[in-house]
Each structure stands twice: as C-alpha cells, then as structure tokens.
C-alpha cells in the first residue's frame, strides 16, 4: 500500500499544459520534496494532491483509495502555506481548532489535541493572541500546529519557509526535520530552494516544465543527476558541463573537451551502455567541489589551467579557470593561494564525474 500514488496525471490551464503525465509514488513515512524553478508545476501538483485544483486526466490515490474527486476536507490531509494563511480574525486557539470543530470532533478530544500540539510546538503561551500579534516564526509554528492537530495521513507544505529571513529559515528547517523524525508522518513539501530540499527530503522529485526529471534520494540526485537540467539545478555553483567528444578504443575511453589539446581518461566511469561511444558528442560533468588543489587519490586527473577570476565568499573561494575557452569553476578552501592569469595545477576527481549525451541531454 502506497500512502500516496499519482497516476498519469495531466493538468492544463486553458491551452497551457502545466503538468504532463505525472507518475509518483510515496511510501509511508517518507518526506518527498517537489523541487523546481518557479512555473515548473510543483505548486499545482501539490494543490491537486490537496484537492484544491481539479484534474484533467489521471488519478490521485491516498492509501489506495481514488480521491481524485473527493473534497479536500475528506482526503485526510493537512497543508501549511507560504503565507501561513492564518485566519486573521481568529486567535491562535481558534485557528488551530477550526478544522476539528468543522469535523465535529468532541470538545474533550479537541482540548486534548490542542494541548498536546501547542505544548509540542511551544505555542501554548500564545493561544489567545491574534495572528497579527505574532512574529514570523511564531506564525509559522501556529500554521504547522493547525496542520498537526488534525493528525492527517499526509502533510502538505507549500514553500513554508520562503517568507522568513535567512536565519529563521535555517532554524525552522531544522524544526521541520525534527518534527518529521518524531512523527514519521508522510510529507510532501514544495520548495524552490535546493538546500531545503537536500536537507529535508528522503526523496526529491525535481520538476521542470510540468515533467518530473528525477525522483530519487538526495544522494543520488546529487551524485548521479539523470540529465543536464538536474545537474545544473542542484549544487552551488552548479556542475561544470564541459562540451566535447568521446574516443573509444578496445581498452579505454577518452574524453576530449572541444578545442583542448589533452584527453581525460574515463575508463572508471560506469556507462549505462558502452557500445557506440566513439565520437559521441557529450557533456563531461564535474562539480566545482570535486576539483582539487592537491592530489587525493591515484586516479585523479592532473591538468594545468589558467585562473581568470576569483570570488571570495568567506570560508571558501570560487575560482574560474579557462579550459580551452570553456569556463570551469572550482571551489577551494580560502586558505589556498591561487594567482590569477597563471597556470595552476589541478586534479579532477574522476570517481565523481557524470557524462551526458549532448543531444538528448540525458545521463549516459
């Protein structure tokens, strides 16, 4: 039994296709993050799961029941919104118990739930206040509390942290993580912030143009991006994608960057399919953090490149190198001294690279 299953789901607003044949499954207790740039359809998908948007094609199942046409209140879900959406005319207590009252839960049970949740979220001292008298973090807590008291099967979060300032955001992120560890309720969480996604999700579904690009664990998303979009979207600065060609002979596979006078041996790379690799146009993907200043293991590839630009960001520095007129970014500790306009010896960690087909943009 899947807690949530989405089957061949399509949605369009007028002639714009927002979601194209989405398939998605979530197991009990997972924390799924829907991640993507704005306009990718992630919020629409969340609204559809909640029942706030209608479906053009396909179905949504919660606990194997088809809920595609069921009202939001009967889906056994709870949602936390970006603007918190607390009812301004009600105080915190009324806000939190509103849903239970609508569901005609007994007074004793309501009180019990309220006490439990408000203690748990440390808002029990705020119960008589109006939302306008709360700070951003407090509002966020109350909004989560309002969702918690309903004890739903699935929590839905719609960019809940994006209205908070940077410091508070990190704090609340940790709290949500703790919350999930303690409650183990299934969560679907929408965000455009990759750090949030990485730190919170047990699964991340990366979306673009209404299509799920990759739906895997954060580690796999980071280490084995399934296409250039994911590779580019995750990581900061994002993965270097060096255009070039493959040369395959019986015993080895070489990558030559466009215009470069050296080859990179990539025998150790685990290709899906090793046939027909010769002369293939590809992108060689390597993350800035996997380019080293000192050799770390035997197989590291050594190359001399000229540094063009240096950006100091405190504990780290980002250096832009010139690789046969393609930009290559590398990230080093700030203690390392690198002189601009001079050749510097660098080491590529070949265990960490990704290769993509230049035509299909897919991982190969």
């Amino acid at each position: 039994m899947k807690t949530l299953k989405i089957e061949e789901l399509s949605k369009n607003f007028g002639s714009t296709e927002v979601l194209k044949k989405i398939n998605l499954e979530i197991d009990e207790g997972n924390f799924l993050v829907l991640l993507g740039p704005s306009g990718c359809g992630k919020s629409t998908l969340l609204n559809i799961i909640a029942g706030l948007e209608t479906i053009n094609e396909g179905n949504v199942y919660i606990d194997d029941y088809n809920v595609s046409k069921v009202e939001p209140k009967d889906r056994n879900i709870a949602m936390v919104f970006q603007s918190y959406a607390l009812y301004p005319s009600m105080n915190v207590r009324e806000n939190m118990i509103f849903g239970l009252k609508q569901a005609k839960v007994s007074k004793e049970k309501i009180e019990e739930q309220l006490e439990k949740v408000s203690k748990f979220l440390q808002v029990d001292a705020l119960l008589e206040r109006k939302p306008s008298q709360l700070s951003g973090g407090q509002r966020q807590r109350v909004a989560i509390g309002r969702a918690l008291v309903r004890e739903p099967r699935i929590f839905l979060f719609d960019e809940p942290l994006s209205n908070l300032d940077a410091k508070l955001r990190v704090e609340m992120r940790r709290e949500i993580k703790k919350l999930h560890q303690q409650l183990k309720t299934t969560v679907v969480y929408v965000t455009h912030d990759q750090t949030e996604a990485m730190s919170l999700g047990t699964k991340i579904a990366i979306m673009n143009h209404g299509v799920i690009q990759q739906n895997e664990s954060p580690e796999n998303i980071y280490n084995k991006p399934s296409n250039t979009f994911v590779a580019d979207f995750i990581g900061s600065p994002s993965m270097n994608l060096i255009k070039g060609n493959l040369k395959q002979s019986s015993d080895r596979i070489l990558f030559t960057a466009e215009g470069a006078n050296f080859d990179i041996p990539i025998n150790s790379y685990d290709f899906d399919d090793t046939s027909q690799l010769n002369n293939k146009e590809v992108y060689f993907g390597i993350r800035p953090e996997h380019i080293y200043f000192k050799k770390s293991n035997e197989d590291d590839f050594e190359v001399n490149l000229k540094a063009d630009l240096s950006e100091y960001i405190g504990h780290e520095q980002i250096i832009t190198f010139n690789l046969a007129n393609q930009e290559l970014l590398a990230k080093f500790s700030s203690t390392i001294k690198i002189e601009l306009s001079k050749e510097t010896k660098l080491y590529f960690d070949l265990t960490q690279v990704s290769m993509f087909d230049a035509n299909s943009q897919e991982r190969i």
Binding site: N47, M79, Y87, S89, G99
Partner: protein, 291 residues
C-alpha cells in the same frame, strides 16, 4: 529673491488649494456657526443672540419630524444597502459567468443623479398608473400600493429608491475587499473542512471589518445629506411627513427667511457628520501610518 522663490515654489503652488479650502470650507463653516448664534431673519445680522436658534430648532415640530425621519431612513438604508451589497458581492465572487454584465447592472444607478432616479421612481410608485395598476391589471384586484401619497409610508419610498441607487456601490466595495483576500486563506479553510457558508461567515466577513466601517461611514454620510432624492420624489410631503434635515435647512434659509434657524440646523448636520467622520479619518490615518 529668485532663490527664495525657487525654494518656496512647492508651497506657493499649494497656496491656491489651501487658501480656497481655508476660506470656502473652514471660513464658511465658522461664519455659519457664528450666524447660528444670532437672531438673523431674512438677512444675516451680526449681534450675538445666544443659543436661541438652537432652542427654537429643537422646539420645532418640523425639525423633530426631520430628525425622526432621518433616523428611520438611515437605519433602513444602512441595513438594506449593506445586506444586499454583501449578498451580491459574495454571490458574484463565485466565478459567475456574466460577472461583468451583472456588475455593470448593479452599479449603474450610481452614475445617475438623484433627480433622475427620483423622477423615475416617482412615476413607478405613482398610485394611479404605476406599480399598483400593473398588479391590478395582472389580476390582483385589491392590490393597493399608495406609499408615495401615504403619510405613514412615504418615507419608505425614499428608502426603496435610495437603496436602489446605493446598494450596488456597497457591492463594489465588498467585492474589492473579498478579491484582495489571499487565495491561501480560502484554501486553508477548504482543507479545514469549512463549507462555503462557513468560509464567508466565519473567516472572510470578519476580515471585512474595514469595509464594513467604510460602507457605514459613506452610507451615513449620504443619508445625512440626502436632499435631491426627497425633492424629486416627495418634496418632503405629503404634508411634512418626509422632511429631512437637509430639506429643512434649505427651506428655512431660502423660502422662509429664517437664516439664523437654518444656520443652526446646518450646524447640527455638521456635527452629526463630524461625529461619524472624525473617528473614521483618525483610524484611516493610523492605519496608513502603521503600514
């Protein structure tokens, strides 16, 4: 000299507006206030006479009837305008197909003058050929509708016409208010299981408090000043049964040569409006500064 001019240019440009309003609004109100303390008859006199005009005013049967009418009219006018306005606004907020057309229809009376409105309603409510005849011709033989010429009921005809003219306006205010509420609030309420009725009654309408306040102030203001509609519909009649303060004031001033008395009645109206407006302006300003 030139420097000074340049520096004070903004203030010089402000001067006409401030001067005109200072003279024609504040100066004139003070003048009226002063005259209300004199025994002016056909022409203003300037010796002070004390509060005699106010004593006379509140002893006048016609004034008391005016005030009475004003209270009745204001109460009904407010209730009907706000109730109808809210109902229409909420209903129009449900993704209605012909919303634009309906909104135009509800609001067009606001574009007409009270004289035009009054003329039309006078004809419709006219007991011989108007609504009454229509219903009799439809077979309701004993139908009578003579409110316009009935001392007891004539005031309600003014309510009917007034509500017709202003309800659409309240609708527009509430619709704008409802549309400014964040989507997510309604979504949250839906997930909480609130039905349409509960969403409006428990969540959205309580959020409309400022709109209620604004509508209240504007409607009270309209009703205190109502003059044209009465002139066009009943001329204060039958007898003096539909007189209102504004009508009382102009009649005293320009037909009955009771300048002092009319000044006193004008000041009473002024104070009534001020009692509503000053708290309103105060709260509005505070809201703006709080932002």
């Amino acid at each position: 000299m030139f420097k000074w001019l340049e520096k004070n240019l903004p203030k010089i440009v402000m001067a006409p507006a401030v001067g005109l309003i200072g003279w024609f609004v504040y100066g004139f109100v003070l003048w009226t206030l002063y005259i209300s303390f004199t025994n002016s008859k056909i022409l203003p006199k300037y010796e002070l006479w004390g509060v005699g005009q106010y004593v006379k005013l509140w002893a006048s049967r016609k004034w008391l009837i005016s005030v009475d009418n004003l209270l009745v009219f204001t109460a009904l006018f407010l209730i009907f305008c706000i109730v109808i306005g809210i109902i229409l606004a909420i209903f129009l907020d449900q993704k209605i197909r012909a919303e634009g057309v309906l909104r135009t229809i509800y609001l067009y009376p606001m574009a007409l003058s009270f004289i035009v409105t009054g003329t039309a309603w006078k004809w419709i409510l006219n007991p011989t050929l108007g609504l009454q005849k229509m219903f009799i011709d439809w077979g309701f033989e004993n139908f009578t509708f003579d409110w316009l010429v009935n001392r007891e009921m004539a005031i309600y005809t003014i309510v009917i016409a007034g509500v017709w003219q202003s309800a659409g306006f309240v609708m527009a205010l509430f619709l704008a208010g409802l549309r400014s509420v964040e989507d997510e609030i309604v979504k949250a309420a839906k997930i909480d299981g609130a039905g349409l009725f509960t969403v409006y009654w428990k969540i959205l309408l309580p959020m409309m408090r400022p709109v209620f306040f604004t509508s209240f102030v504007i409607l009270v203001h309209i009703s205190i000043k109502s003059y044209d509609l009465i002139v066009a519909l009943t001329q204060g009649g039958p007898g003096i049964s539909t007189t209102m303060p504004a009508l009382f004031m102009t009649q005293a001033a320009f037909h009955k040569s009771q300048v002092g008395l009319s000044a006193a009645s004008a000041m009473m109206m002024f104070m009534a409006v001020a009692a509503v407006i000053i708290p309103y302006l105060y709260s509005e300003l505070r809201r703006e500064n709080a932002r």
